[in-house]
Amino acid sequence: MSVATALPGLDVERIREDFPILAERVHEKPLVYLDSAASAQKPRVVMDVMARTMEKQYANVHRGLHWLSERCSDAYEGARDRVARFLNAEREEIVFVRNATEAINLVSYTFGHTALEPGNAVAVSQMEHHANLVPWQMLRDARGIELRIVRVTEAGEIDFGDLERVFADRRVKLLAITHMSNVLGTYTPVERLVAFAHAHGAQVLVDGAQAVVHRRVDVRALGVDFYVFSGHKLYGPTGIGVLYGKRTLLQSMPPFLGGGDMIGSVSYERSTWAEPPYRFEAGTPAIVEAIGLGAAIDYIEAIGFDAIATHERVLTDHALRTLSDISGLKIIGNAQDRGGIVAFTLDRIHAHDVATLLDKQGIAVRAGHHCAEPLARRFGVDSTARASFGIYTTRSEIDLLAAGIERLKKVFS
């Protein structure tokens, strides 16, 4: 292992061997993948588990009555148990969905339409991904529920003074907030936010799409009412995501999609609903993908979140230091508690050009508003380039990024 990649706690070189794509070349250069916040690459074991399921044990789940269906149901329900353990939840509290976006919409269409009333308000922060903003706008427009925005400081942290203001009249009944910003890298203090919201009579949905990748999430300890994430950012398959909801909350919610598997019994006049989580899983689920997600969770828990967090810390510190040294480069946000996502602008060079010219060097970063358009506006930028790190990211990749930026600046000079 080279010195440059020797990070405490994590044997990055060995981890990289588990990810076949990292050996690919792009434009004849070795791939430097710094876009894990958009979607993470997959370890071999995830692909293998998916293929093996389809080769050996595949059938539709639930009420199959034959051996393949029973085994496939065992694996699918085993994945639910796995996710429940991962979040320290009960299995009945784990609903499989497509992605974090669907999970939030599910809550908006069910809880939002029955537990909230016209005149109530939903609060979100200024640093939400569109996935945690647009569904609430749609709810606002459909039901006369107010949408309030909690400001973010120049450092990119929740403005607690503004939070007080937003909650002052006690009309906010739901705080929907990210656990980690996909632009600023900020971790929000979820326990504190939950205590605050609960004290003000509001429930809390936490968008864990980014945070769950880097930190152990214990939904009981955090006290959240809902927690959502996507499999594909957690080194798992596309097409699968998770909604955690407190058991009593899920039980009180009407169904979202209607169809097979979510019903108790059906007649033309009236249908009765199954208990959670099945009430919220209509139709044939993403069976193979749920099983693949279980394998991804096994994989990262074997590495361990202590090591993952240390690795993220070291990489982020290195990236912040290295990138700040580049003249004309400005990093957006500098929260106290921040993780492996760094968005930046370059003087007089558009983020699109940055991304394309880095790509020409084999370096994959993302550019744009990162599905957080109002946040970009808050910081007075149209778009930023963003580098984000995963368990397979090395210090030398960050050095390559810095060198790549210096090179592309020459094209523009």
Binding site: H62, R63, G64, L65, S69, E70, S73, D74, E77, G264, S265, V266, T272
Partner: protein, 149 residues
Amino acid sequence: MEDTVEDLYQQLIMERARAPHYAGRLVRIDGEAEGDNPMCGDQVHVMFASGDGDVVQEFAHQTRGCAICIASADLLGDVVLGRHLDEITSTVDAFEEMIRTGTRPTRSEFDKLAAFAGVHAYRSRRRCATLAWQAARSAIIRMMEAHHG
């Protein structure tokens, strides 16, 4: 389709499914409950007579369903007759546990009931085996509440 011990359709189960001992209605009913599984239309109605006491004197069931469902309702009869209500709930717990885990409890009443342990491997049949037992639990809890306030 040999009759191995693991086999679901043991002789005992088939006998009881074909000719249940306790099928029918009681004249006097001190406790009863129904269970149904809309997934397959299984329906069960269990009835108990215990006079004023806590010991089951009579039992009957009306069951529409598969062989597993009918036989498990009928074998419930063997287990409850002459037993105290609170003993019965603990047997019901153990039966459900056996279906969930596939492991046969050591208690003596499971000599026969072990015939159902194989249902465990069929997640979608578990409900067939436990339907009557779950109904029995509700009936008995209500009887105990009625007797003891």
